[in-house]
């Protein structure tokens, strides 16, 4: 693997030569400080841009173009990392060993059209496209309770991160206020006021020239003030909401305080892996295997938000018992067994190595490495190995179990 880093205008460009794939994959990233509104507006923008553009003014025409170009694939996503929001757009296509020679140029042209030449006129998007995107997002928000796990997690985020970016989710009241004109302004804001990065990976991409695509793009820089620091509440905050569903969902929140960079980058993944990141974790072994309380129970660490969330799908009557056991498991993390520690290091380093078998993992993770100022995967693997059992036990003193949200189902199944 060979990475060439350069700047085209103000756009940071990473070209990653990797031989083992048959496709080329790339993405353009637009980063800005996050606002509450962005969770809703950016979702609409993504939906509209990916659906049609000026050159292909219907979804049908855009899709015909994709198939004509050997099933070229375009997608978009949004991520919030701490105090920053990133909208990114991806393309993926077979490289020219398997296509005609002009395929990549055509794919890049369409990619440019999708992002920078939307289906809009008179400073607003095509009215039908705007209404369609809005209707789809409205229904998705309205039906959130049908996705019990996702709803419970959102409610937990609200609880633990009130008035911080942790609590930001798409909202109906914000959606109602969005007009076609205001959304177009927000689109221009994204295009003109973001810190822009571009990453492409595939065979011989360092020999390719993307300057034509990049030269018109505006980019500015933002300070990297990433971390969100939620306040640690003194008393455990326990909330319950009833709904008429089958399965109850318990979401538990943990807050992290004063982690060093080494702890948040290297020790926290090990802590989380031992706590609840897989079928060898303590949560899995105790909540599922020993007490048969659930099918799925896991934890996830968000280092930029300084939180860990735990999820378990359970029966109503097992709520108290499950919460008690989760508290006990978290409490027991001040003592780590040598065996589980070693397994965890192996697990994390293996996942990092295996991630290199998927082409898209040479794209988004490289952007994140730049965002977090992190090392590349091979260096990361070496640094993870420097973590000690003592480091994990010490980290447990900086982790506090503070909140739970119980989404209580009412129906019983057959």
């Amino acid at each position: 693997m060979k990475i060439v880093k350069k700047k085209v205008g103000n756009v940071l460009v990473n070209l990653v030569d990797v031989d083992k794939f048959k496709s080329i994959c790339g993405a353009i990233f637009f980063k800005m400080p996050v606002t509450k509104e962005m969770m809703t507006t950016r979702s609409l923008i993504r939906s509209i841009l990916l659906h049609s553009c000026k050159k292909y003014p219907s979804n049908r025409l855009l899709n015909i173009n994709c198939l004509e170009n050997y099933d070229a694939y375009y997608s978009s996503n949004f991520r919030r990392d701490g105090n920053y929001a990133t909208n990114y757009f991806l393309f993926r296509t077979l490289d020219d060993r398997y296509t005609d020679k002009q395929n990549l140029n055509r794919v890049m042209d369409t990619f440019y059209e999708i992002i920078f030449n939307p289906n809009a006129s008179c400073e607003k998007f095509d009215e039908d496209e705007f209404n369609l995107a809005k209707q789809k997002l409205r229904s998705s928000i309205e039906s959130k309770k049908e996705r019990a796990q996702s709803y419970a997690m959102d409610m937990l985020y609200k609880q633990i991160g009130d008035n911080t970016p942790i609590s930001y989710v798409s909202q109906l009241d914000i959606l109602d206020k969005i007009t076609n004109e205001s959304l177009y302004k927000e689109y221009l804001n994204m295009i003109n006021n973001s810190e822009v990065s571009f990453v492409v990976a595939g065979k011989n991409v360092t020999k390719l020239n993307f300057d034509k695509f990049l030269e018109k793009i505006k980019s500015r820089t933002y300070d990297n003030n990433l971390l969100v620091k939620p306040l640690i509440n003194e008393n455990f905050n326990e909330k319950t909401e009833e709904y008429n569903g089958l399965q109850s969902v318990l979401a538990v929140g943990l807050k992290l305080k004063d982690l060093t960079e080494f702890e948040s980058t290297y020790v926290l993944p090990v802590y989380n892996n031992i706590l609840g990141a897989g079928a060898s974790s303590r949560l899995f072994n105790i909540i599922r295997e020993k007490h048969s309380l659930c099918y799925s129970c896991f934890s996830r660490a968000e280092k930029d938000d300084n939180i860990i969330e735990i999820y378990a799908g359970i029966e109503n009557e097992n709520y108290k018992k499950t919460l008690r056991l989760i508290k006990e498991v978290v409490g027991s993390m001040n003592k780590i067994e040598t065996d589980e520690f070693k397994r965890s290091i192996i697990d994390i380093t293996s996942s990092l190595k295996e991630s290199l078998d998927e082409l898209s993992n040479y794209v988004v993770p490289i952007y994140l490495n730049n965002l977090y100022n992190e090392k590349d995967i091979s260096e990361k693997i070496e640094d993870i190995k420097k973590v000690t059992k003592q480091d994990v036990e010490n980290l447990s003193k900086k982790i506090f179990i503070t909140d739970s949200f119980f989404f209580k189902g009412g129906k019983t199944s057959a």
């Binding site: 083992k20 899709n63 004509e68 050997y70 998705s140 309770k145 295997e289 192996i346 293996s350 078998d357």
Partner: protein, 428 residues
């Protein structure tokens, strides 16, 4: 060991069958870190009534037992946590059950040989006790609840249930909480002994491995074990009428908007593997031509307020039947249904999309070979369905003919239909 050259793609898949009947496929991918092994039995939720090995009469087993058995094979006599053992050797292990297969797999980047032996030993050392069978019922009960909690999954499950009369495909793979309550360790052993004989199983290995070394490891492992003489597995012959079991059902759930699902049940004749492979292409291509991304069908439904926000279609192809499902938060049942029927009966303007989807299939086939997991899935799917690998898929796509496609589509009979309506609960 037989070499199967994949035409147009510079790849070889090795195939070998051991004396005990176990078939092994190995595809070398030296450029990748990941090494995968799948150990699969041709036994799934549809094999629910059969003559257990060494018995004379048919026996009907509780629904969901194949999936239950899948869970229980992770249990070992020494009470070791098998997940931890795999993890120590860099492996992630899991399993899954479908209608016609159950497979156990791991992926790793180091210690492949020890992981492979562990996987084979795990699957070939069943250990069921009354206690560990009871323990699993709570866990699987929550798995069932998790899926049933989703209204879209309910639509899908109900369409299957009402479309089929006798075929066990009508039931959910995991069964219901009530079904799994009656599963005993004796049931599990009977199913295991019938379907987990090496001659009913196969191994698929993909990654940076040496095919001769891997084969030697498997051979030595199998030689140490004794298996009874293989007997023919006798599944109960199911006679399924072409008509649906129930044409309409209305249920109430906690949904934010009414949801409706339509199912079209179509009988599939038995064909040769290549003709069956082509038929799958015809079916997917036809439905995508009518309802997929090259149409504005869904968009128009939303714009015209016939559907609130989403509309899905899906062809579900099993050995004997095709069930096409349509679902969404449908506002105008009659008009949407008519539009679907009109589309299905309209055979004009199929040519342009046919050529585009042909191009897409060729591209996707090439892309499949840049991911060890998708190659493994392809091998498993082919062998489970056809008992052989098709080595010239690329050529088949290249030469697929529009006229043959059109002739096949003309034979589809869309008259056997079922419908599910999920209404909102009052007070929601």
């Amino acid at each position: 060991m037989r070499s199967i050259k994949i035409k147009k793609i510079n790849k070889t898949i090795y195939e070998h069958t051991l004396d005990n009947g176990l078939t092994i496929f190995i595809c070398k991918m030296p450029e990748f870190e990941k090494k995968l092994a799948f150990f699969q039995t041709k036994y799934g939720s549809l094999n629910n009534e059969f003559i257990p090995i060494n018995k004379k009469d048919f026996k009907k087993f509780p629904l969901g037992i194949a999936h239950f058995l899948e869970h229980k094979l992770f249990e070992s006599k020494d009470k070791n946590n098998i997940f931890e053992d795999f993890q120590k050797d860099t492996a992630y292990v899991n399993a899954a059950t479908s209608y016609d297969a159950t497979y156990y797999f791991f992926d790793c980047n180091e210690n492949f040989n020890s992981n492979l032996k562990r996987l084979i030993d795990m699957v070939q050392s069943p250990y069921f006790t009354d206690e560990n069978v009871e323990k699993e019922k709570g866990i699987i009960g929550q798995e069932i609840d998790m899926y049933q909690n989703d209204p879209d999954q309910t639509i899908y499950d109900k369409l299957y249930y009402n479309a089929f009369v006798n075929d066990p495909i009508k039931y959910d793979i995991a069964g219901t909480k009530k079904d799994i309550k009656c599963i005993t360790k004796e049931d599990l052993y009977e199913c295991y002994n019938t379907f987990y004989h090496p001659c009913n199983m196969f191994l698929t290995i993909v990654g940076n491995v040496d095919e001769k070394e891997v084969l030697k490891i498997i051979e030595e492992n199998q030689k140490k074990k004794k298996f009874p003489k293989p007997l023919k597995i006798v599944n109960k012959e199911i006679i399924e009428p072409e008509e649906v079991a129930k044409t309409k059902e209305i249920i109430k759930r906690n949904v934010s908007a009414r949801k409706i699902g339509y199912g079209y049940k179509i009988k599939l004749d038995k064909l040769s593997p290549v003709e069956d492979f082509k038929r799958e292409f015809y079916i997917y291509t036809f439905l995508r031509t009518k309802f997929g991304p090259l149409t504005s069908f869904t968009e128009d439904l939303i714009k015209n307020k016939l559907v609130k926000s989403y509309f899905n279609y899906h062809p579900n192809i099993s050995k004997k039947y095709l069930l096409i499902t349509f679902s969404g938060d449908i506002l105008d049942d009659k008009r949407v249904k008519k539009l679907i029927d009109d589309k299905l009966s309209d055979l004009n303007d199929l040519k342009e999309s046919f050529e585009l989807y042909k191009k897409e299939s060729l591209a996707n086939y090439v892309k499949m070979f840049e991911n060890p997991a998708t190659i493994a899935s392809h091998i498993r799917y082919m062998y489970n369905k056809y008992e052989k690998l098709i080595d010239n898929c690329y050529e088949i796509y290249e030469n697929i003919s529009f006229n043959e496609y059109l002739e096949y589509i003309k034979t589809l009979n869309f008259s056997n239909q079922t419908k599910i309506i999920i209404n909102e609960n009052e007070g929601n």
